[in-house]
């Protein structure tokens, strides 16, 4: 067998493994999420199908596959079918570039599907392609609510994409590479990036919540206002594909946060004193970190109510974007003028910024969320006098 063929086959196998892993995680994420939400609301959650409800994902899968798949008369059949595939395809592809362990640790193979020098850029580009799935899905449904929901969702995702990209610039400037391996390696040398870029991390976290359409930014499925948004006309397996895309995006976002800010697949170094080599175990640390962020996603969903659409937009454009820009400029200025000072000073500055935001949150909020002023005579009251 020629060398290139072997490489291709192994890559394919790894890709299949990643897809299977992601889809299984998605299936059990739905169960874990429902159980956790239930427990947080003092009820047991799904526990009927199988022991402890463990077969619930299988039941859901069987249901969505055999359910009647409706297509609206006015729908653009091709795009309507393609949209969920685009959404899930992009979501699944994005995960492949993330390294899950040191080179050659997966039975002698590298624990990643593809390795690009432009790792983050490629990932951001791929996840942005998911917007096409959402918008085309809304447009091709040939119905009013989906197109409104699709417009709204794509506007939201594009808005937060900007803050997301900008909040990473500081990190990229410090590390000097966009490859995930470079970033993980740098963090192994200098400590996790969260220490130096806490402001960037907070902004990235907020943007991730908006990008993955999770509460409190889950406006695409604001059923009180727009039924179910872009997927109103979808049913059965196509609907499930959209749902899958959302969850896979969430897993990817967690993995990206773990990789960029928390040392990726490397565990804490001091544990090496207890068990030698524990910080280099493949998969384990990445999975632990992903699980932590997934729990955070669920926890926030159990707590926070949904934002209003104008609040969401104001928050993205007036707070996240300028702050990400400020973070970029702060890091750039620091790197340019630091002289002999270490990076820790930047970390302190960044952390002070986060603290100031937390403490002054009530005052900052008024700045960006001022109610629009209407002229006196313009007020319309429902019902009339």
């Amino acid at each position: 067998m020629p060398d290139w063929l072997a490489t291709l086959l192994i890559s394919l196998l790894k890709a299949v493994l990643v897809v299977l892993g992601l889809l299984t995680t998605f299936a059990y994420m739905t169960l874990i999420e429902r159980r956790l939400l239930g427990r947080m609301q003092l009820r047991p959650g799904p526990n009927r199908v199988g022991p402890m409800g463990l077969l619930q994902p299988a039941a859901d899968a069987i249901k969505s596959i055999f359910k009647e798949d409706l297509t609206v008369t006015l729908a653009d059949k091709l795009v309507y079918t393609l949209a969920p595939i685009v959404a899930i395809g992009m979501a699944l592809t994005a995960f492949g570039g993330l390294p899950a362990g040191p080179a050659g640790s997966l039975f002698g193979e590298n624990p990643w599907v593809y390795n690009l020098d432009t790792g983050i850029l490629a990932l951001l580009a791929l996840t942005s392609m998911g917007v096409y799935g959402i918008f085309l899905g809304g447009w091709a449904s040939g119905s009013k609510y989906p197109i409104l929901g699709g417009l709204r969702s794509s506007a939201q995702m594009i808005s937060y994409e900007l803050g997301m990209g900008l909040s990473l610039l500081g990190l990229l400037m410090i590390v000097g590479t966009t490859s995930f391996h470079g970033i993980v390696g740098w963090q192994a040398q200098n400590g996790p990036m969260i220490l130096f870029q806490s402001l960037g991390f907070v902004l990235f976290l907020i943007s991730s919540f908006a990008e993955t359409n999770r509460t409190p930014f889950d406006l695409p499925e604001a059923e009180q206002e727009i039924v179910a948004g872009y997927l109103t006309e979808y049913s059965a397996i196509k609907w499930a594909l959209f749902q899958m895309a959302e969850y896979v995006n969430m897993i990817t976002a967690s993995a990206v946060m773990a990789t960029l800010f928390f040392g990726g697949w490397k565990g804490p170094q001091f544990l090496n004193a207890l068990i030698p080599g524990i910080s280099d175990w493949p998969l384990i640390w990445l999975i632990v970190k992903i699980a932590f962020f997934l729990f955070l996603f669920i926890w926030v969903r159990a707590t926070l109510p949904r934002l209003r659409y104008d609040q969401l937009m104001r928050f993205g454009w007036k707070l996240v974007l300028p702050l990400a820009l400020a973070n970029t400029m702060l890091t750039a200025a620091f790197l340019a003028f630091r002289g002999s000072g270490g990076l820790w000073f930047l970390g302190v500055l960044s952390f002070a910024g986060v603290l100031a935001l937390l403490v002054l949150s009530d005052r900052v909020r008024v700045l960006w969320n001022q109610p629009s002023v209407r002229p006196e005579g313009d007020i319309v009251r429902a019902g009339g006098d």
Binding site: L36, G38, R39, M40, Q41, L42, R43, P44, W299, V300, A302, T303, L304, L357, L358, S361, D362, R365
Partner: protein
């Protein structure tokens, strides 16, 4: 809503995660009813003589806002009276599909004959099975029609899906025994 309030809220939800759920797993576990719960009707008897309290006056039917009750009265046989009055209810039917369990019949009844009890498992398949006759509601009959049918099929006693808060039925349900 500052970040501090959000943090407080997050703390509340995390705390609830470690508490025991309050949900009752109903079919396996029994639901606990409060004393004022209004379920299926019960036609009571005089405890001493065993005579039916109902005298067939139709006031319950008149009071019923959903027109769910049908009463047909007949003269008592003085030798073997069914009720202590001059007349008794020959036919007493309540359509449980129409009944809204408001308790107006209970209030209208001059003798305290019709009382709302505690049974609530009355789901059934056919319309006609929802019309409960006198023999389905008199004191001593445990369970609704589908419950009793199920019990006969299985050869087991009727299992009621509730337990009473405090363990005692109300005073006006004299003679009614819930296990």
């Amino acid at each position: 809503m500052g970040v501090l309030e959000i943090a407080k809220g997050m703390g509340v939800t995390l705390g609830k995660l470690f508490q025991k759920p309050v949900t009752v797993s109903y079919p396996e576990q029994r639901a606990t009813l409060q004393p004022r719960f209004r379920g299926r009707h019960i036609l009571t008897r005089h405890p001493g003589t065993g005579l039916e309290k109902c005298i067939g006056c139709s006031l319950c039917a008149a009071a019923c806002p959903a027109y769910a009750i049908y009463v047909e009265a007949a003269e008592n046989d003085p030798a073997a009276p069914v009720s202590p009055g001059e007349r008794y209810a020959k036919v007493y039917e309540i359509n449980m599909l129409r009944c809204i369990f408001c308790g107006m019949c209970e209030e209208a009844c001059p003798t305290g004959a019709v009382v709302l009890g505690n049974e609530f498992e009355m789901a059934d398949y056919r319309y006609r099975d929802f019309v409960y006759a006198k023999e389905d509601m008199l004191v001593g009959v445990t369970g609704s029609i589908p419950q009793r049918r199920e019990a006969t099929r299985l050869g087991k006693p009727v299992r009621l899906g509730f337990q009473l808060d405090g363990g005692q039925p109300r005073a006006e349900l004299e003679g009614v025994k819930y296990q």
